[in-house]
């Protein structure tokens, strides 16, 4: 289809031709800027609400800047043990899940990047992994299986089912194939085995690709909420997104103590929810500059190769 893109092209800002300013250009730029605003203003509004006083928020005075600036809703959220519990679950999930994802991706991608004659049953293996992307048993069998394994209410239920990210495997194996054969042959002549070759040659060369995949995996783990909701019977084991889901979307306040309810009366429901929404997206927003840079490369790497 096309040549693989060079990093320079992947930057997507290369200008090919001289462009002149005219009416249409101005109109175009204005339109695009308006659409950009449409993408970020909702978030800014929520942040403004979260920092506003409960009265101003309930009365609908808040637009894009906090009214009667206060940390009250954040103080309240941070004072909740549930919040910290779920934050710890989320961090543990990322801490175990991401290295596990990367390790398995490397271990699967390396053999599959070999030619068929260098690895018997290569295509059988490849299909075995690929089929899991095409077909699954569905919700109930999945849930029942995890229950049978006794994984409910354990952190392993959140990291093991997705331990092999097949899409990442596909990206990495295609990346591995671009690595010059001579490097590997030289390693073999020097007496390195396959494990040594992976660890000392392939992994260091693939650092940018691996960083992309690590970010994919971290975002995935951070944003997942349904498995937490489904597989954790005890709300104390919810990851942060599942916790936010029950509070903000389901408005389930049943597991709150009486004192907590009284505290809540002082803060409006709206500022509270807004602060939780913001806290739930904060790590992503902080990591965004890195995310964007790597993801653009990752997407280009993954989607339009031919």
């Amino acid at each position: 289809m096309q040549q693989p893109l060079t990093p320079n092209q992947a930057d997507l800002t290369t200008v090919h031709r001289k462009k002149k300013f005219d009416g249409i250009s101005v109109l175009n730029a204005t339109f695009l800027i308006l659409v950009s605003l449409l993408c970020i203003l909702p978030l800014i509004h929520i942040v403004a609400v979260s920092f506003s006083s409960s009265a101003a928020a309930s009365a609908g005075y808040v637009r894009l800047w906090p009214v009667d600036f206060t940390f009250a809703s954040y103080m309240y959220t941070m004072s909740r043990t549930e919040f910290w519990q779920s934050m710890i679950v989320s961090l543990t999930r990322i801490g175990i899940g991401t290295p596990l994802n990367l390790l398995l991706t490397i271990l699967v991608a390396y053999p599959l990047s070999k030619e068929s004659h260098a690895l018997r049953f290569r295509s059988v293996y490849a299909w075995a992994f690929f089929i899991t992307m095409l077909f699954n048993g569905g919700l109930i069998p999945w849930y029942t299986t995890l229950k049978e394994y006794g994984l409910l209410d354990s952190i392993w239920a959140l990291v093991l089912p997705g331990a092999v990210p097949v899409f990442s495997v596909v990206l990495l194996l295609n990346f591995f194939r671009e690595i010059p054969k001579e490097l590997e042959e030289a390693a073999l002549i020097d007496g390195a085995g396959h494990f040594r070759t992976v660890w000392s040659i392939f992994v260091p060369i693939s650092k940018p690709a691996l960083a992309t995949l690590a970010l994919f995996s971290m975002v995935e783990h951070w944003n997942s909420w349904f498995d937490g909701l489904l597989l954790m019977g005890n709300p104390a084991n919810y990851p942060l997104q599942s916790y936010i889901q029950t509070i903000v979307i389901q408005q389930n306040l049943s597991n709150m103590s009486r004192d907590a309810m009284l505290d809540l009366a002082l803060i409006s429901d709206r500022t509270l929810k807004s602060s939780q929404i913001f806290l739930g997206s904060l790590p992503i927003i902080l990591a965004y500059p890195f995310l964007q840079k790597y993801f653009v490369k990752g997407i280009v790497l993954g989607s339009v190769k031919g």
Binding site: M1, Q2, Q3, Q9, L12, T13, H16, K19, K20, I24, S25, N28, A29, L32, I33, I40, P42, I46, G60, L107, Y110, L112, K114, A118, L119, Y125, A128, L134, F135, N136, G137, L139, I140, P141, W142, T144, T145, E148, P161, G162, V170, L173, N174, H194, V198, N223, F226, L230, Q241, I244, I249, S274, I277, G280, S281, Y288, Q292, I299, V304, G306
Partner: protein, 299 residues
């Protein structure tokens, strides 16, 4: 022969942990689709002595009055999402490519790409707040133009379109990057030649840019076909409520409710199985078509 096997052995060993994981967490659940043909009692276990009922669960689902509605909702919502999800990013990529200023270009890219990274829980929370008929900022804004309040998430006329619009809003940044990457791959010489021949902006877009990324357009369209029965569980689950089940209930949320809330395991698995089979057929055909028309190979 012996030594070849010994040389290969480490490769097989490397695959072992990954294989064990997918067998445990993908293939065992696939075997679990047999629940669809059972009157499943969880206490007896997945491989326990369950009562087999043939196609009773499927017959039961077909007889449900809202099943047709759910199927229709799924197809309606997902096909509109697919079509707009292909066209909107294409238009944006072309418009972005026309921008002369790299600063604006970069800023716009950064902004339109942000919602893609946020979870549907976070975006659901935001949408519920800003779209609310009581004090939501969108309705207030529309009020300035004399538009009466719209209950975007609670009105069956509006709900499916709110789903479609917000899905496009979340995802078009991603698609734009893909198209933009493809546009950047077009030989600049073509544009120069066209300029010398007196082509204007429209000529160039129409005769160079679009044909230049034709393969990517074909590829993305074909591959998206496989998603026809996925109308977006994460999104619908976080935005819907009983009063919009009529227009917004999709196969996945339907399975969730009959399966896990009503504990009708067999019935829910039957619906899931039906969905998986059709999806598998669609995805396989779309990969086949992608290979035929765009020479796309996954590995």
């Amino acid at each position: 022969m012996r030594s070849k096997l010994r040389k290969e052995l480490p490769l097989h060993l490397m695959l072992l942990p990954g294989l064990i994981m997918i067998i445990l967490f993908s293939y065992v659940p696939m075997a679990g689709v047999m629940i669809a043909f059972q009157k499943f009692i969880p206490a007896k276990g997945l491989f326990g002595d369950q009562k087999w009922v043939g196609f009773d669960n499927f017959d039961y689902v077909m007889s449900l009055p809202n099943f047709t509605q759910v199927l229709w909702n799924t197809l309606f919502i997902s096909s509109l999402k697919l079509i707009l999800g292909l066209i909107v990013p294409l238009v944006f990529a072309i418009l972005l490519n026309e921008l002369a200023s790299n600063v604006i270009k970069r800023t716009v890219q950064t902004a339109i790409y942000l919602p893609y990274f946020l979870s549907w829980v976070v975006l659901g929370g935001i949408l519920i707040d800003i779209l609310s008929p009581s004090g939501g900022i969108v309705n207030e804004f529309l009020g300035l133009f004399g538009v009466s309040k719209i209950f975007f998430l609670g009105d069956n006329d509006w709900f499916p379109f709110t789903l479609i619009a917000s899905d496009v809003w979340k995802n078009f940044g991603y698609g734009t990057i893909v198209y933009l990457a493809a546009i950047t791959g077009i030989d600049p010489g073509l544009y120069e030649a066209a300029t010398i021949d007196g082509a204007n902006r429209w000529h160039k877009t129409w005769h160079i840019t679009i044909p230049g990324i034709r393969m990517v357009i074909v590829l993305l369209s074909v591959l998206s076909l496989g998603q026809l029965l996925n109308a977006g569980f994460d999104q619908v689950f976080n935005l819907y409520s009983p009063q919009v089940y009529e227009s917004g209930d999709i196969l996945d949320t339907f399975v969730y409710r009959i399966g896990l809330l009503d504990a009708q395991y067999g019935v829910a698995t039957a619906v899931g199985f039906f969905k998986s089979i059709i999806s598998l057929t669609l995805i396989s055909s779309s990969y086949f078509l992608a290979y035929r028309f765009a020479k796309y190979r996954i590995f």
